[in-house]
């Protein structure tokens, strides 16, 4: 009943608001832009559908019973209250289904834990409330923090389309190359999460966590801190820009040069 009610409400609300507003269609997990993120999406959909099927069967039986086996229909209640074979059946069947889900999940998990053959190594450090990126084996390192103006946050001006998911300096990485991220924190716990890359891991002081990714498509991917880290936890986004390898090389060379000249200036 309430499902139907909900549905009706959703439909009326959807009709009132404009469908063009993207929010209404953001119903599902992103497929992402890496092989692994697509596998994760596949796993998510697989288990979702399994749950839907089980749900339809169980709730179906229940609602059938609610409709047909009611006192007002003048039925006399049955008295059965035990059946070892039934109990056995509904212990074994879910167990088998679970194994069917565990196998592909484990396969994906093993792939996620394979950090070998990484070509680019980037160390990410969480601070209250910004991120630091260091390209290992180069001298490039910078901080990246929220660039949304306070006026927008405090409703004094209109919010732009990337409200709360824009930063002053984006993390720039190449596509089609294996990148390994090393993750730590300087103060409290943070978590570095970019949904499109299916990457999420905690940044923990005293620990270095690892994760790796190969991005298939160039583009700008946005993420957020996902572990409560204090007052501005909601205000430390992540923006990662994946570019073609050549563009990345150029950017890195320029960044290194700029850094060297900065250091030189200071040394003078």
């Amino acid at each position: 009943m309430f499902l139907i009610k909900n549905l009706i409400l959703f439909i009326t609300l959807m009709a009132n608001f404009s469908l063009a507003n993207a929010g209404w269609l953001d119903l599902n997990m992103t497929e992402g832009v890496t092989d692994i993120s697509q596998e994760v999406f596949g796993l998510h959909m697989l288990i979702l559908w399994i749950c839907v099927v089980i749900g339809v069967l169980v709730f179906g039986a229940m609602f059938w019973s609610i409709l047909m086996h009611r006192k007002s229909k003048g039925v006399t209640p049955a008295t059965f209250h035990e059946s070892t074979s039934l109990e056995f059946l509904w212990t074994i069947v879910p167990f088998v289904i679970l194994i069917g889900m565990a196998v592909p999940a484990t396969k994906t998990l093993i792939k996620m834990y394979d950090h070998s053959d990484s070509e680019i190594h980037i160390k990410i450090t969480g601070y209250q409330w910004l991120w630091q990126y260091e390209y290992l084996n180069t001298n490039v390192s910078f901080y990246s923090k929220l660039s949304t103006p306070y006026d927008e946050i405090y409703n004094k001006s209109t919010k732009n389309v990337n409200y709360l998911q824009e930063v002053d300096k984006e993390l720039i990485v190449p596509v089609n190359k294996k990148i390994r991220f090393l993750l730590t924190s300087n103060d409290v716990l943070h978590a570095w999460w970019v949904p499109d890359l299916a990457l999420k891991k905690d940044a923990i002081p005293g620990y270095i966590n690892e994760m790796s990714v190969v991005i298939n498509e160039p583009g700008i991917y946005r993420g957020r801190c996902a572990e409560l880290c204090g007052r501005h936890h909601g205000f430390m986004p992540i923006v990662i820009k994946a570019v073609e390898e050549k563009e990345y090389e150029e950017w890195l060379a320029n960044a290194e040069k700029a850094k060297t000249s900065d250091v030189a200036k200071i040394n003078k």
């Binding site: 499902l3 997990m29 086996h69 009611r70 209640p77 509904w90 212990t91 994906t108 999420k200 986004p237």
Partner: protein, 523 residues
């Protein structure tokens, strides 16, 4: 039996407020627990409404982000330790002695203490809202190092948790002693109602894990004030170890919050289906297996901390296994309804609502168990939707079902049925309106515990907020209905419900107030 022989006059029970302060009667204490839970339910609910108001639209409108974090933290602590646990303890106090045919709880005086600690603990916790540095804002999970950044409130928070823990341990020990030692002749363990069984197992879990929480929060305290480095990375400690400690307590705690509701639903469904509970013994074994599994799945709350692969795989498998005994329970309930002769009074509606929505929460729980997918779900609104589905239309609905089910027994009056049904339908509609859209925003990428969000999450957050206000106001009906039933109403029979079975229904629904006025004449 303290005073064997005493002078003649009646044993004057204190009246008024002193009656409630000094009472050792299990019914009085049960009532106290339930009212305490009710008050806390509205306080915690107000906090939720602060959260939902702020999240109604993107941007910061009403509260400071720090206060927002305090609200999420306090909302969780109040709802878990102040509402669900006391409510179930209250139900246990009221019903367990009656269900097993015992005279009272085994340790009546300790029962009194374990209740009266609670108001002190919660005054202490709520007083932190007015302290320098604000109330605790590091999340109810108290993860260091963030929780160590709490201001003056910190020691109050820790001692409040100690007192809550002490109260629940004393309650649990009392319940265990009662169930084991106070059963009537012939009430063997496998004849006990499932509510008693689930509470026995719950109490076992409580006793096993509460010291872990107490030790964990004490180590936080010594880290902050006495220079130890249990969790301080700079001093050679391990911040992740706190998470292990916390969730080693926390996961059994989750089942502490849900197992008694299984007992309640297992009492209600057969009553209104007029058919015995299907698979009584498998229900007992399923509950015991869930309890056992709860000790070996804690790290599924921490899939993203960077455990070794073997750990992730182990905790994924163990977590998925929980679906099996939980499934058995749901199948048993559905089969109990099958070919019954059902009627749909308010308790039955809440019980059916429980099964449906708890199962939805169970499904999302199963999805969360899949480690690779959990990396996408972890710490998002998907998780928020999941645990609210098992806690609100799960535990809270079961508590409400229990209240409607036993209220006629407690008060001797029937509650107004139509109003009860209105309460059910409004609650169900709004609870889904609140929490179902949270699945969507979670999958779309909205993290939990954020006071402000980017624009693509705006629409469903608005709906959730509308739902939350609706749900909150619908609960006023519940409050009104209970007060009305206590004050009067059509008289309930002893059996109250046509299909009711069990010792509690053979007792009279309270006879009218009658005092012993004429002193007897000695011959």
């Amino acid at each position: 039996m303290s005073s064997v022989v005493k002078d003649t006059h009646h044993d004057e029970h204190p009246s008024g407020i002193m009656r409630w302060i000094t009472t050792t009667n299990h019914k009085d204490i049960g009532t106290l627990y339930l009212w305490f839970a009710m008050i806390m339910f509205f306080i915690g609910g107000l906090m939720a409404l602060v959260i939902r108001s702020e999240l109604f639209q993107p941007g910061l409108q009403f509260v400071d982000p720090q206060f927002f974090n305090s609200m999420t933290t306090m909302h969780a602590l109040v709802m878990i330790f102040g509402v669900v646990m006391p409510a179930f303890t209250g139900l246990a106090n009221w019903m367990i002695p009656i269900m097993i045919g015992g005279p009272d709880m085994a340790l009546p005086r300790m029962n009194n203490w374990s209740f009266w600690i609670m108001p002190f603990a919660f005054s202490m916790l709520l007083s932190t809202l007015w302290m320098d540095g604000g109330a605790p804002a590091g999340g109810w999970t108290l993860y260091p190092p963030l929780s160590l950044q709490t201001g003056d409130a910190f020691p109050f928070l820790i001692f409040a948790i100690h007192f809550m823990g002490l109260s629940s341990i004393m309650g649990a020990i009392n319940i265990v002693a009662t169930i084991l030692n106070m059963r009537a002749p012939g009430m063997t363990l496998m004849k006990m109602p499932l509510f008693v069984w689930t509470w026995l197992i719950t109490a076992f879990l409580l006793i096993a894990v509460m010291p872990v929480l107490a030790g964990g929060v004490t180590m936080l305290l010594t880290d902050k004030f006495f220079g130890t480095s249990f969790f301080n990375a700079a001093g050679g400690g391990d911040p992740v170890m706190f998470q292990h400690i916390f969730w080693f307590f926390g996961h059994p705690e989750v089942y502490i919050l849900i197992l008694p509701s299984f007992g309640v639903v297992s009492a209600i469904i057969p009553t209104f289906a007029r058919k015995p509970l299907f698979g009584y013994s498998s229900m007992v074994y399923a509950t015991a297996s869930i309890a056992f599994l709860s000790f070996i799945v804690w790290a599924h709350h921490m899939f993203t901390v960077g455990m070794p692969l073997a750990g992730e795989v182990f905790f994924m498998f163990a977590t998925m296994l929980i679906a099996v005994p939980t499934g058995v329970k749901v199948f048993n309930w559905v089969t109990t309804m099958w070919k019954g002769a059902m009627t749909f009074e308010t308790p039955m509606l809440f019980a059916i609502g429980f099964i449906v929505m708890f199962t939805i929460g169970g499904f999302s729980g199963l999805m969360l168990a899949i480690t690779p997918a959990d990396f996408q779900y972890h710490d998002t609104y998907f998780v928020v939707a999941h645990f609210h589905y098992v806690l609100v239309p799960g535990s809270i609905f079961a508590i409400m079902a229990a209240c409607y089910f036993w209220l006629p027994k407690w008060t001797g009056n029937m509650y107004p049925e139509t109003l009860g049904k209105i309460h059910f339908w409004l609650s169900t509609f709004f609870v889904n309106l609140t929490f179902f859209p949270m699945h969507f925003v979670g999958l779309a990428g909205m993290p939990r515990r954020i006071p402000d969000y980017s624009l693509q999450f705006a629409d469903y957050n608005m709906i959730a907020s509308i739902g939350a206000f609706g749900f909150g106001f619908a609960q006023l009906i519940f409050l009104y209905l209970i007060i009305k039933t206590i004050k009067g109403g059509s008289k309930a029979t002893d059996q109250v419900w046509e299909g009711a079975e069990g010792l509690e229904w053979t007792l009279s629904s309270p006879p009218p107030y009658h005092s012993f006025s004429t002193p007897p004449v000695i011959k």
